[in-house]
Amino acid sequence: MHVLLDSLAMIALCYVMGFLFQGFYRQFNARLQRRWGPSIWQNLYDNMKFLLKSETLIHGPMFFFGPMIIAAGAITTLLFVPFLKDSDWLQGVSTHGNLILIIYLLVVGPLGNALAVGSSGNPFGVMGVTRGLTRLMGLEVPFFLGLALVMLQHETTSVHAIMAAQDGIAHWNLITNPIAFAVILLPFIASQNASPFDVVGAPVEVYAGPRVEFGGRLLGVLMTQNMMMTIAKLVLVVDLFLGGASNVLELIAKAFALFLLTTAISAAFPRLKTEQTVDFFWKVPLGLAVLGVVLNVWLI
């Protein structure tokens, strides 16, 4: 019973934070472009509107199950990420999982995408998915090496233990292991699908990329899972590098600080090409990661 209530609370918190953060993101971008921008609730309105629309497209069962797989993947991921430390609440089922499981779950989304879009047969969608999988090739290795660095440093795969080890700002992994944070930051932006690595949805370039065939309710489901996934990943990085949070306000403050950093980076840089993205990931973050592993394993 407790687990059920707790999971529902986590999903609700994630959803609310998701649309507020993304609403902030749109407003922030608008102000940078010297315009007023939408209200901060805009993403809620958009999402609700899509969930209330009709859905008349038929592309076979996989087209329908794809978004469900992605959404299920997002919800499972966020339930395995502990939101608070030293608390009974907002834990989901995180005590039964660890970082390695979360790494596996992160890949469910792109896979579901590929399945759904493949069955729709739209060339723009397929193009978007191809770009996404190419980018995934670039970002996965440094991202996971960065996570591995953290696991190496604390010699555990449990997110709880890593959080517990960072008591006080001087013990945050951001301070004690800055190389791991530097390694993870750019792949993290890419996995949030933000500029300069937004080659998948690439507005104007490939229309909506993987989402090109979705309209109505299925698009609403995709938007919902996207908002929740954004928050789940933010919270994961907060847990690993910013020492977690002991209450909801602290969590929101830390996640927001991180979000502000990534939005500032993505507002400043224009989109790279797909091959430039992969090149970049294989050079800079991966080079740093290898350096970090060498430092961690042989020198310290």
Partner: protein, 209 residues
């Protein structure tokens, strides 16, 4: 309404516009009102830009007039759009594409027509290959007149449409569904043998949602 002592010209129009604003929805439940309110706050626009009026969509969407503050934003594909903006005259050939795009949009969907060309043919009224009254082929929810209408006029039109959506008035898509045979007969008259194949619209007659 148009009485000389009361108001004159555009004042009357202004008054008619404003008269709608205060009017409350008749017999709508709380849920419908909420749904209508959510819907009007978020309009994804598919701008069909082959007429000259399309040039006014760019300042509307970008920093100068910033339609995003009303929740109006461009959509990538017809499937994701709520509003189809027809930006002016339509040749018979483009009309076919417009109808195809319109039928792919998910309900509820609305059509905004810009300029006199969509109302009565405008300066193309005796052209051999443009249509004259768009409303005979797809249901138009809102006309914005002018040749061409300025972005301010477009904003006015969009807010009037939002007002109608909020009040839960039946949109043009219901008219299209109810009178599908009439619309298809009109379309067949201009297309002749070039009619889009039946499978593109047969789900309309089956009443699918």
């Amino acid at each position: 309404m148009y009485h000389k002592s009361d108001c004159e010209g555009f004042q009357c129009e202004q008054r008619m516009l404003e008269a709608n604003l205060g009017q409350d929805d008749a017999g709508l439940g709380v849920v419908e009102r909420l749904i209508g309110w959510l819907r009007q706050r978020s309009l994804f626009v598919l701008a069909y830009g082959t007429g000259c009026g399309a040039i006014e969509m760019r300042p509307l969407m970008t920093s100068r007039f910033d339609a995003e503050r009303f929740g109006i934003i461009g959509a990538a594909t017809p499937r994701q759009a709520d509003v189809l903006v027809i930006s002016g005259y339509l040749a018979v050939k483009t009309l076919k594409r417009v109808i195809r795009s319109y039928e792919q949009m998910q309900e509820p969907k609305y059509v905004i027509a810009l300029g006199s060309c969509t109302i009565n043919g405008g300066m193309y009224w005796d052209s051999y290959n443009t249509i004259k009254c768009l409303d005979h082929y797809i249901p138009v929810d809102m006309y914005i007149n002018g040749c061409m209408p300025r972005p301010e006029a477009l904003i006015e039109g969009f807010t009037a449409l939002q007002e109608r959506i909020r009040r839960g008035e039946p949109g043009g898509y219901q008219r299209y569904r109810d009178n599908i045979d009439w619309y298809k007969a009109n379309q067949r008259r201009v297309f002749g043998d070039n009619m889009p194949p039946a499978y593109t619209y047969d789900w309309y007659s089956e009443g699918a949602t």
